[in-house]
């Protein structure tokens, strides 16, 4: 089945379908995370004893650099596909994926440390909001990693059969990944620094 406008832009929107689709999806994600941010603000303002044991700022700072770095590598992957350099693009997608692994690894360590000190979401709203926001964000990172794994694995065959469509898939996945990075850019100061 030939799906139209996966490569050529639609005459009415000026975009290929995937690009409009991903932006509409990201708009819905803004509402999802926005609702949780709003909840954090309301819960936090309601009590005087908000802060409990501080979170690990150096580790979270490393995670911030990891995610920002992965945003650069995914856009460099797309740039290299446009230069017809599949080998280099694949390397950058691999680096992006491994940055995701590093991020989830550091997050898992943070969670394990909390559980080892008997700190759970139910302990205090301070932790409940932390686990909810970072947990949902972590699931989004995992989702992105699954897509990158597909693009590196069975999905890579499309570069041979339809390179422009493959390039568009990498661009669209990159847009999703940048959004995940954007959410962390706000999560990091709100949870760890304020």
């Amino acid at each position: 089945m030939d799906i139209p406008y996966t490569v050529e832009p639609r005459p009415d929107t000026g975009l290929y379908n995937g690009k409009l689709g991903i932006w509409l999806f990201l708009a819905s994600e803004v509402m999802l995370f926005g609702a949780l941010f709003s909840t954090l603000i309301v819960l936090r303002s309601a009590v005087d004893n908000w802060h409990q044991t501080p979170f690990n700022v150096p580790l979270a700072t490393v995670n911030t650099f990891v995610l920002i770095g992965s945003s650069v590598t995914v856009v460099l992957a797309w740039a290299n596909l446009r230069l017809n350099n599949f080998k280099k693009a694949k390397m950058f997608i691999w680096i992006t994926f491994l940055c995701g692994v590093a991020f989830m690894g550091i997050k898992s360590y943070e969670y394990m440390e909390k559980f080892a000190h008997h700190i759970y979401p139910s302990t205090h709203n301070y932790y409940a909001t932390y686990f909810t926001l970072t947990g949902l964000h972590g699931l989004h990172v995992l989702g992105g990693m699954i897509v990158f794994a597909y693009l590196l694995g069975p999905g890579a065959k499309m570069w041979e059969t339809d390179p422009q469509r493959y390039t568009n898939r990498v661009e669209v996945t990159g847009l999703y990944w940048h959004f995940v990075d954007l959410v962390w850019i706000f999560l990091f100061p709100m949870l760890y620094l304020l």
Partner: protein, 100 residues
């Protein structure tokens, strides 16, 4: 491939790396500001300002929003309006609320 010359794509790559450097510096600034131990109001305002600048850099350059089509801008303007409402309404309902 997609209608851009090799030179243009290489220039874009240089921009991506410059934006990354800017984001790294701003991350350092974010952490540094937290050590100033400002009072909550200014601390929150400054942290969100820096985060917004970082977010704007990611959206403008990595997500190519600077050169996007009008339809995407329309979708995002609608999103911003609803996002502001989503943030403002719960907070507004809590302001001056009596706690028992």
């Amino acid at each position: 491939m997609s209608g851009h010359s090799v030179e243009e794509i290489k220039k874009e790559t240089a921009v991506y790396l410059a934006v990354f450097a800017g984001l790294a510096v701003l991350t350092g600034v974010t952490v540094g500001v937290s050590y100033l131990h400002l009072s909550p109001g200014p601390a929150i305002a400054l942290a969100l300002l820096i985060a917004s600048i970082k977010g704007a850099l990611v959206a403008s350059f990595f997500m190519h929003l600077l050169n996007e089509k009008k339809l995407i801008y329309s979708v995002l303007i609608l999103t911003v309006i609803f996002f502001v409402a989503l943030m403002a309404l719960p907070i507004a309902s809590e302001v001056g609320a009596t706690r028992f």
